[in-house]
Symmetry: C2
Subunit: 332 residues, 2 copies
DNA sequence: ACACGGAAGTAACGCGCGTTATTAAAGCGC
DNA sequence: GCGCTTTAATAACGCGCGTTACTTCCGTGT
C-alpha cells in the first residue's frame, strides 16, 4: 500500500496525494479532488510510511533518551514526561538503558545516531556530574538530573535547595523547632543543596542550626533507622520533635524507630521524606508527607529544550532548575 | 556523510562499500580493499542511516510496545525485558502508553503502523482479558499479562496457580497448618488462579481448605489491614499462624495489624506477599518473602515470540505461562 | 484576436541505501 | 594464441516519499 496506489485509485498523480497529505501551502486543491483522495486513502487503508517520509524530508522525527536503568521509578517518570510531550508533537522516543555500563552506553548512542535522532536526552537516577561520550556532541544534547562535568552541555536539575527549604519550612509552620535532619551522603549535590535549604529556613525562623541534629545516612532504611534511634534517644527536652529524611526509604526506617519507642506520628514526632516514592509514601501508615523530585516535569522540559535546539533556536538558559513540590499527606 | 562519500574517499564504488558493511555472502572482497573502506569509514566518522537502510531492505527493525501506563513497576520491567532482548538483536522498541484511553491507544497503534513495526507487544498492568483495536491484526501481535477476549491472539501469562501453590507450600514447609489467605478481588484471574494453587497445596499436605480463612481484599494496604485484623482476632487456637497476601501493599497492611497486636514476624505470624514490589518488599521490616510476577521474563519471551512470528515461523503454543519465582527474605 | 495570470495538476529528481545484473580483468588449461 | 572460469568491482534500479519546476487549461482584460 503506497502513495502511488492511492493516486491510481483516486485518478490523480502521486504528487497531488502528497500535497493533500501534507496540506502543502500554496497548492491549490479543489475540494472535490481532495475528497476523492481522502476517500481512496480510507478505502485502501493506506498509511504513510514514516521511514520513507523521514528519508525524503530529512527529518527523522526521533529523539533519543538514554537512562542508566529503565527499571525504577525515576526513569519511568522521565520517560513518561518526555514521551507525552514528544508524541503530542508527533515526535518519537528511542529509549535505551546503559545499565551503568559505558560500553552499552556507547552502543546505545551509536544506534541513536544511526537512527538520526534530532536530539538526545541523558538522564541519571541521582543528581550528579557526568561525562558523556564524545559522539554525543554530534547532536543537540540535554542532561536531565545531572550536569556536564565539563560544563558545556545544558542541563535540567531539581531545585534541591528550595526542596530542603520547603520541607523544613513546613515543619516550622507546624510548630516544630527542634528538627532532626537525616541526610544523604553529605558529599552529593542533593545532600548539600537540601542542607543549605534546611539551614536557611531555620535561620529565617530565627533558629540557629544545631549541627548535632544533622546526621548523615546512606540512603537505606536501616541506616536511617540507626540515625533516627540516635536522634530519638537524646534526653527528653533535647529530642527532636520532627525528622526530615533524605528519602522515603529512610523515612521508612525512621518510622520504625519512632513506633518502636511508642511515639506517635505525627503527634509526637512529625516526619517529612523526599523523593515521593509512591509505593512507600502512599502506603506507609500514616501516609508520608514528602517532596517529589520533578522527574516528569524534567522530562517534558527536556523535550521542550531539545525541540528548541533542534529547530536551531538558542537556549535562554544553560541550566534550568525545577521546583520540588511538597506533597501533603499525614505525617506532619 | 553518506555511503557515497565513503566510497569516493576509499576509491571504490558505493556498492562495494555496501557489500563490506553488510558482509554480503558471495561477494569477493580482497582484504586490502576491505581495509581501505573500513579506514575511510573511520576517518570520515560515517554512520549508516538506519532509516534509509530500512527503506531499501524493507525491514524496519522496529517492534512496538503498548502499555497502559509507563509509570509503575510492571511496565518498566516489561520494557526492560523486551528492550534488552530486542537491542541484542539489533531491533528497536517503539514504546507508547495508552493511559487507559482507547483514543490514545488507537493513535499509538497508528503511529506504530506508520513506522512499519514488524510486531506488536501489548502489555497490561494486571492479568485480565482485553480486546484490541482491529488495526492490531495488521501485524504480528503478542499479548503480555493479558489474553485476547476473542481468543485469537497469542499471549504470555504469569502462572498464578503455581504461584499460589508455591507460596502456600513454603508456609506449609515452615510448619504452618492454619494459613490465612488475604486474596485480591475474587473475580479476577489472579485471585482465582492463586486460590486454586493455595487449595491444592493444602490438600496435598492432607489439610482440608477452610473457606473462612480466605478473605477477599481490594489490593490496598488498608483493606488488607482490616482483613488481617479479622483473621488475627479469631480465638487463640483458631488464629492463623501465617498469612498469604494478594500483593505486597496488602502485606504491608497485614504487617501493621500483626505488629499492633504485639505479634512478631515471622515467629508468631509468617507472611508471604505477591508481586515483589521491591520498594515495599525489600524495605519492610522484616523484609518480605514474596512471589515475583515475571514481568521481565514475559517481556523477553514476548520479543522472542514476535521475532519468530515476524520471521514467518509458526508458534508452538498460543498461550505460554511463566513461573512466578519465590523470593526468600525474612518474613517466613 | 492575443497576451496574461492564476488554478490544477504532473514529471522528474533526489533522499541513502540494498540488490541484481553486468562488465572488466585476471588466471588457467590447452 | 583462444575459450573458459573465477575474482573484483560497478552501473543501474527501486524502496516510498517530499519537493521543485514545469505544463496545461481556463477565464479575463484589451
Amino acid at each position: 500500500m503506497t502513495m502511488s496506489d492511492v493516486a491510481r485509485h483516486a485518478g490523480v498523480s502521486r504528487t497531488t496525494v502528497s500535497f493533500v497529505l501534507n496540506d502543502k501551502p500554496g497548492a491549490a486543491i479543489p475540494e472535490e479532488t481532495r475528497r476523492r483522495i481522502l476517500e481512496a486513502i480510507d478505502e485502501l487503508g493506506y498509511r504513510p510510511n514514516a521511514g520513507a517520509r523521514a528519508l525524503a524530508a530529512n527529518r527523522s522525527g526521533w529523539f533519543g533518551l538514554i537512562t542508566e536503568i529503565v527499571t525504577g521509578p525515576f526513569a519511568t517518570e522521565v520517560i513518561t514526561g518526555a514521551q507525552s510531550r514528544a508524541w503530542g508533537d508527533r515526535r518519537f522516543l528511542l529509549i535505551a538503558a546503559s545499565e551503568g555500563d559505558p560500553a552499552q552506553e556507547a552502543a546505545a548512542l551509536d544506534q541513536m545516531l544511526e537512527h538520526r535522532v534530532e536530539g538526545l536526552l541523558y538522564a541519571t537516577s541521582w543528581h550528579r556530574a557526568v561525562t558523556l561520550p564524545k559522539a554525543a556532541r554530534e547532536v543537540p544534547t540535554v542532561l536531565v538530573n545531572c550536569y556536564d562535568a565539563e560544563g558545556e552541555l545544558p542541563c535540567i536539575l531539581p531545585d534541591e535547595v528550595s526542596g530542603g527549604y520547603k520541607a523544613t519550612r513546613r515543619l516550622l509552620d507546624a510548630g516544630h523547632t527542634r528538627i532532626g535532619f537525616i541526610n544523604l551522603d553529605p558529599a552529593i549535590p542533593a545532600a548539600i543543596g537540601r542542607r543549605e535549604g534546611y539551614e536557611r529556613a531555620l535561620r529565617e525562623a530565627g533558629i540557629t542550626p544545631d549541627p548535632s541534629l544533622v546526621v548523615p545516612g546512606w540512603a537505606t532504611a536501616d541506616s536511617a533507622y540507626t540515625a533516627a534511634c540516635e536522634l530519638l534517644d537524646r534526653p527528653a527536652g533535647d529530642r527532636p520533635t520532627a525528622l526530615f529524611c533524605g528519602n522515603d526509604r529512610m523515612a521508612m526506617g525512621a518510622y520504625d524507630a519512632i513506633k518502636e519507642r511508642g511515639l506517635r506520628i505525627p503527634h509526637d514526632v512529625a516526619v517529612v521524606g523526599f523523593d515521593n516514592q509512591e509505593l512507600i509514601a502512599a502506603y506507609l501508615r500514616p501516609k508520608l508527607t514528602t517532596l517529589a523530585l520533578p522527574f516528569e516535569a524534567m522530562g517534558t522540559k527536556g523535550i521542550d529544550m531539545l525541540a528548541a535546539l533542534a529547530a536551531g533556536q538558542p537556549l535562554d538558559t544553560r541550566q534550568v532548575t525545577i521546583d520540588c513540590p511538597l506533597l501533603e499527606r499525614s505525617s506532619v
